[in-house]
């Protein structure tokens, strides 16, 4: 039985051949970049948990009231709450979904899943990674040795258990995941989209290669000359990238390696608010922080200067040795 979820190779190639992969500047605003994301699309989200979350781009999609996005991410934190709570997404493919291990269960996720308002499709962490990797390699699946024997596997008919044709061993083939669009936040890139990532890279390289469009948000845009001086530091090549948006603190209140740690006071206030009332608390939070601000900088001002500076001081301290 064939699986409709995996893109046939010819369609994958056809989609890619229609993209403009030439060396060209593609700097734009959050508003402009959001046009690559249409209702109902498959959207891959970079970073993991509270790290290098493309929060500014998610913020923009909430403001533009996108609908029915099917999102995928390594591990999902408050970004998942926001996507469900705002109605932007009704389906998240991930390996772990709560606000953070410090805060127990997410009442927002629970409400949406337990009431059948949205789906949380669970794969093991490695399986999510291998699904993006297969997508990035242009193959329909990769074999793994986990999930076997567990109920996680039983819930996933999208994967196929086989007997290895070489060794006879049991293996699980996980299907390629090729999102329509990937949202990725990086420390720096050039105007063409050649991106450098410091520290934890998570699954972002595979995701960028797998997706049919990539929107990069970046703490800063550097010159192409600077990129070319250390080409072995480029982690995502320009021809994978369709939009470059410069957004300082673009992961706030989450962290961006080497630049700022998570803004935990804001996070804690958020968690207290939405877990005490996942409907009304979420509505108020979105109103105040997502819909009302005129700009991303105004959103940062609401988080507060003190918290942003404190997070920055801690973020930079990783290099203090």
């Amino acid at each position: 039985m064939l699986n409709a979820q995996v893109e046939p190779y010819q369609r994958l190639r056809e989609n890619l051949s229609q993209r403009d992969r030439s060396l060209r500047e593609k700097v734009m605003t959050l508003e402009e970049a959001a046009s690559f994301v249409q209702d109902g699309m498959k959207v891959g989200i970079g970073g993991s948990t509270m790290s290098r979350t493309p929060m500014a781009m998610i913020w923009e999609l909430v403001r533009q009231r996108r609908k029915n996005l099917s999102c995928s991410r390594a591990i999902t934190s408050t970004d998942g709450d926001i996507l469900f709570g705002s109605g932007v997404s009704d389906h998240i493919i991930t390996s772990w979904f709560a606000q953070g291990i410090l805060w127990g269960l997410s009442k927002v996720m629970r409400r949406h899943v337990e009431q059948g308002l949205a789906r949380y499709e669970e794969w093991s962490h490695m399986a999510v990674g291998m699904r993006f990797r297969a997508g990035g390699m242009g193959v329909p699946f990769l074999p793994i040795r986990s999930m076997l024997g567990s109920d996680v596997m039983d819930q996933r008919p999208e994967a196929k258990q086989i007997d290895c044709p070489f060794t006879g061993e049991k293996l699980l083939l996980v299907p390629a995941l090729n999102p329509d669009v990937a949202l990725i936040h990086v420390q720096r890139c050039d105007a063409y989209g050649n991106a450098q990532i410091d520290g934890l890279q998570f699954m972002d390289i595979d995701l960028a290669l797998a997706a049919n469009r990539v929107i990069l948000t970046t703490e800063r845009i550097v010159s192409n000359d600077q990129i070319r001086r250390a080409p072995d530091q480029t982690k995502i090549p320009f021809f994978c990238v369709d939009a470059v948006v410069e957004v300082p603190y673009g992961s706030a209140p989450h962290e961006c390696f080497g630049i700022y740690e998570p803004m935990l006071n804001h996070m804690e206030a958020y968690v207290a608010k939405v877990n005490s009332d996942p409907v009304e608390g979420m509505r108020e939070y979105l109103e105040r922080y997502f819909y009302e601000p005129k700009s991303w900088n105004e959103y940062l001002a609401l988080i507060g200067m003190e918290e942003v500076l404190d997070a920055s001081q801690k973020g930079r301290s990783i290099y203090n040795d």
Partner: protein, 255 residues
């Protein structure tokens, strides 16, 4: 009687877990008690303990007072030997480079299967839990130590859902499911230390914590426990262990 008021349940859990680790081991640790216990072991007896985090970190030395809020935060990379992709660090488990996987648990059964996905029917769950993260990968691919709170509702005969496989249905069922390597090695709680029978793969009590009786353990467990022929009594936490632990987590994030 031992004076058990000197330490909290979380503290003895971290300390007894730390004692399970050996210098030179390569340990894949989850956040919370495992990270705390691994860091404690590193400071006390095992300077050559290599800690891996699923965010993509090999060989970290987390700073006291700067515990990471998750395994995907930059604090996990402090003085690490290597930072790599998160799928790639999990693949190191699959290849076999890791000696021990070290996790917390929400619900466990007599065969060491862990549930962190659903309470009730997965199709219409009473509670949707956070899910596996790397838990399924870690427990599928290496030898496991699990540190968790001992409550009757957490120690059940059969978990509602196998998120992270232990010995599945016991006997040889784990290998037959396609998991020939690894398996549950130890479960540490504030009451006792458990191993698993070589044949049946049922959980059995290896040692009781100071001041804890067999009945205490059985009363807090939802299935009939096997007791090892010679039950040991665990040495209580030393002052040095407690002081070091508290210095690592002065803000009591996890203890």
């Amino acid at each position: 009687m031992t004076d058990t008021t000197r330490y909290t349940a979380a503290e003895i859990l971290a300390i007894l877990s730390a004692r399970q680790l050996k210098d030179g081991q390569v340990v894949f640790a989850g956040v919370g008690t495992p990270l705390l216990a691994a860091t404690l072991a590193q400071r006390l007896r095992c300077p050559g303990l290599t800690i891996l985090f699923e965010g993509g970190v090999v060989g970290a030395f987390v700073e006291p007072g700067k515990l990471p809020p998750s395994t995907n935060d930059q604090r996990c990379t402090k003085r690490a030997n290597m930072v790599l992709g998160s799928a790639d660090v999990l693949l190191l488990l699959q290849r076999g480079y890791v000696d021990i996987g070290f996790m917390g648990g929400a619900q466990i059964d007599q065969f060491g299967n862990l549930n962190s996905s659903f309470i009730g029917d997965p199709a219409a769950p009473k509670t949707r839990l956070p899910g596996t993260g790397g838990g399924n990968d870690i427990s599928s691919l290496t030898n496991m130590i699990v540190a968790m709170k001992h409550e009757k509702r957490r120690f059940v005969e059969k978990v509602d859902f196998i998120t992270s496989p232990g010995f599945i249905r016991g006997g040889t069922s784990r290998a037959e499911s396609g998991l020939p390597a690894g398996g549950m090695f130890r479960v540490i709680t504030e009451l006792a230390i458990f191993g698993f029978d070589e044949k049946t793969r049922r959980m059995k009590v290896l040692a009781l914590n100071p001041g804890v009786s067999r009945e205490n353990v059985q009363d807090n467990t939802g299935f009939d426990l096997v007791f090892d022929e010679q039950i040991a009594i665990t040495e209580p936490p030393t002052e040095h262990e407690l002081e070091t632990l508290r210095s690592i987590d002065p803000e009591r994030m996890f203890i």
